[in-house]
């Protein structure tokens, strides 16, 4: 029996290219209108506003008791789908029919007020998530116990440590009793202890025959929890079915994804009158037959550019960022004098160094070790998948890097009991 049926769901956003931030002020609208009135002919159809389809023609049906994992890259439309299903925003076209009490957990501790005490926030957050006062009272002790915040019940949550805050938030959500539960990447926050609890609770939910929708980049968790999966790419539901099948498919697509950029025409290549970029490629040394990059995979970078000035002293500087923009490292080559022509730079990131996640590389061409001639921002984007051996724990491995250090453990002394 289908509890969720989605037909032709699409969601359109309008992207405004002129503005840095999404919401435009009244002033912008006024000046734009004045602009348009007086300079109509100059704009000759250049699209300032672009339509962006976050979701396009998505159709699916979910049976009662299904545990659905949703995979896809950042911007594939996963979160938009959850937002539509949670009724936070509406679709541009199409409709979804949902049968059953639905609760969505897109964030831990939604609506917590920092000035209110833990006790008050339990009631506030519970009500926001759709629990009645009676239900909250019934599970109050269990929530407090699960979160481990007995001592701080009457302390404002702004005095809580971030761990306590997240634990309390999850504890409340865990005691929701919906027939359909929607969970977004909540595992991405909190400590490992919390993540373990969180996964355990979700397994309880799925085992009790309720319907679960779970978005995560953590494929290990999806494989552990979900029996079916949806694979989204560029706003379309491109594949669905058995989780193992989808995850394998997803991983193979990831590695086939273009890991290189190159420009044949030197005139139109990025750069300026001193340097022009020719190519930037990434060569992983795959460690398995599936050809996907995981935490073990060494990655080689090759960057080529044309030097257009005879005798220029140049060096390269490469930045590696996390997907959220934190810089993990910056490495540079020594400077050398080059004649006109092609210059090639290579770099290797060893295996067992970066943690799983999405990474962004930018490359700078620097002159005289001080002037940035050209900065190619977000030049390459790649994903590193998780890989674990001899570990029975599924939570997100913390940290930006996951180096293998000489870290060992041995028995240093035997205590003999008689």
């Amino acid at each position: 029996m289908s509890v969720i049926v989605a037909e032709n769901i699409s969601k359109k956003y309008i992207i405004d290219h002129q503005r840095k931030n999404g919401s435009s002020g009244l002033r912008d609208i006024v000046t734009d209108t004045v602009d348009k009135l007086f300079r109509k002919q100059e704009k000759n159809g250049f699209a300032e506003k672009e339509e962006f389809w976050a979701l396009q023609d998505v159709n699916f049906s979910i049976d009662k008791g299904d545990r659905i994992g949703i995979v896809g890259h950042n911007g594939a439309g996963k979160s938009t789908l959850l937002k539509i299903m949670s009724r936070i925003t509406e679709p541009t076209t199409g409709q979804i029919k949902i049968d059953g009490r639905i609760a969505s957990l897109l964030e831990v501790g939604t609506g917590f007020h920092p000035e209110l005490t833990g006790r008050e926030n339990i009631f506030l957050n519970g009500a926001i998530l759709g629990m009645s006062k009676g239900e909250i009272r019934e599970s109050f002790d269990a929530i407090v116990d699960f979160a481990g915040v007995e001592k701080f019940l009457d302390t404002p949550v702004k005095r809580y440590s971030s761990g306590m805050y997240v634990r309390l938030g999850f504890a409340i959500a865990a005691h929701l009793n919906p027939e359909i539960l929607i969970v977004d990447e909540v595992l991405a926050v909190g400590d490992t202890e919390f993540q373990k609890k969180c996964l355990g609770k979700m397994r309880d939910v799925s085992e009790s025959g309720r319907t679960l929708l779970f978005v995560s980049h953590n494929l290990t968790a999806i494989q552990a929890l979900c029996n079916k999966s949806f694979y989204f790419e560029k706003g379309r539901l491109i594949d669905q079915g058995d989780t193992t099948h989808i995850v394998t498919n997803y991983l193979s697509k990831v590695s086939q994804k273009s890991l290189e950029k190159h420009w044949d025409n030197i005139e139109s290549a990025p750069g300026n009158d001193q340097v022009r970029v020719k190519s930037f490629k990434l060569f992983p040394e795959y460690q398995d037959d599936l050809n996907h990059i995981d935490v073990r995979t060494p990655i080689n970078f090759q960057f080529e550019f044309w030097n257009l000035v005879e005798g220029a002293s140049l060096n390269l500087s490469m930045h590696l960022y996390t997907f959220t923009g934190e810089c993990i490292f910056n490495v540079g080559t020594p400077a050398e004098n080059f004649g006109k022509g092609l210059v090639r730079g290579t770099c290797e990131i060893p295996g067992n160094f970066l943690n799983d996640g999405s990474y962004v590389v930018s490359m700078m061409i620097v002159k005289d070790t001080s002037t940035v001639l050209y900065n190619m921002e977000e030049a390459l984007v790649f994903d590193i998948e998780d890989y674990r051996e001899n570990v029975t724990w599924y939570g997100k491995w913390p940290g930006y890097i996951r180096p293998q250090l000489n870290f060992s453990i041995r028995q240093s002394e035997h205590v003999v009991n008689d």
Partner: protein, 277 residues
Amino acid sequence: MATQHSITIKAGGSEKDYWKDLWLNKQLLWILSKRDLSVRYKQTLLGVAWSVLRPLMTMTVMVFVYSYVAKLKADPGIPYPLMVLGGLTIWTFFANTFTQISNSILINHNLVSKVYFPRLLMPLSSVAVGFVDFLITFGIYLVVTVIFQTPISWQVVFLPCFILLTFITSMGFGLFFAVLNVRFRDIGQLIPFMVQVGMYVCPVAYPSSLVKGTWYEKYYNLNPLVGIIDGFRWCLLGSKSYFNPQSLYSTVITSSIILVISLIYFRKKENTFVDHI
């Protein structure tokens, strides 16, 4: 977020279930109101005393400036401080609720982007703080009445009607600006200015009998607040206080029309608040 067991999500929203949903979520309305009230004076030294001090100080200053310095007079037989305090009580109620309603969506943006419930709950719950402040100011008014030995007249039975009218008017204006505020942050700048100007345009510090017979009287009465403020004072001070019934008709008509338009506008936009916030 308590919802019925079967829903259909589509563009344009599920019109027929909306009011039922709102009713199902009345508990959340109560909890959100309680939240706003209990965080109000957290980490302040004087706490609730502010709700008493503010209207008292405003009244004192206004009495000094308008009565002693500018020599404005109340209607015959009415002490000036009582007239000012009466006007101030209802005007502040309007100004506070209007401001809070206009900001309600933005203030709760963390909820808007993460969880569904009928969005109308946010403006509705934001009224609570203004209403409690109103009750406190009204209490001060009663104390001042005793000091000036001016008994409350029998017309006080109509008082709830005027409170309700104020609520309708502030909802009407507030909902409209709440929607605009999501899209244009300019509204946040505009509202304090409107409230400030409004206090002079409305008969708070002077009786509207001063306007009687002038060429602009009929335009003046179009302002729905004129009927409310004059009516409110009439309830408390009796027929000695000037009250033109014409201004009441205009209040009822304009306020209802504005409320209906704003509600339609709000309903039309609420499902996409998150896309603009």
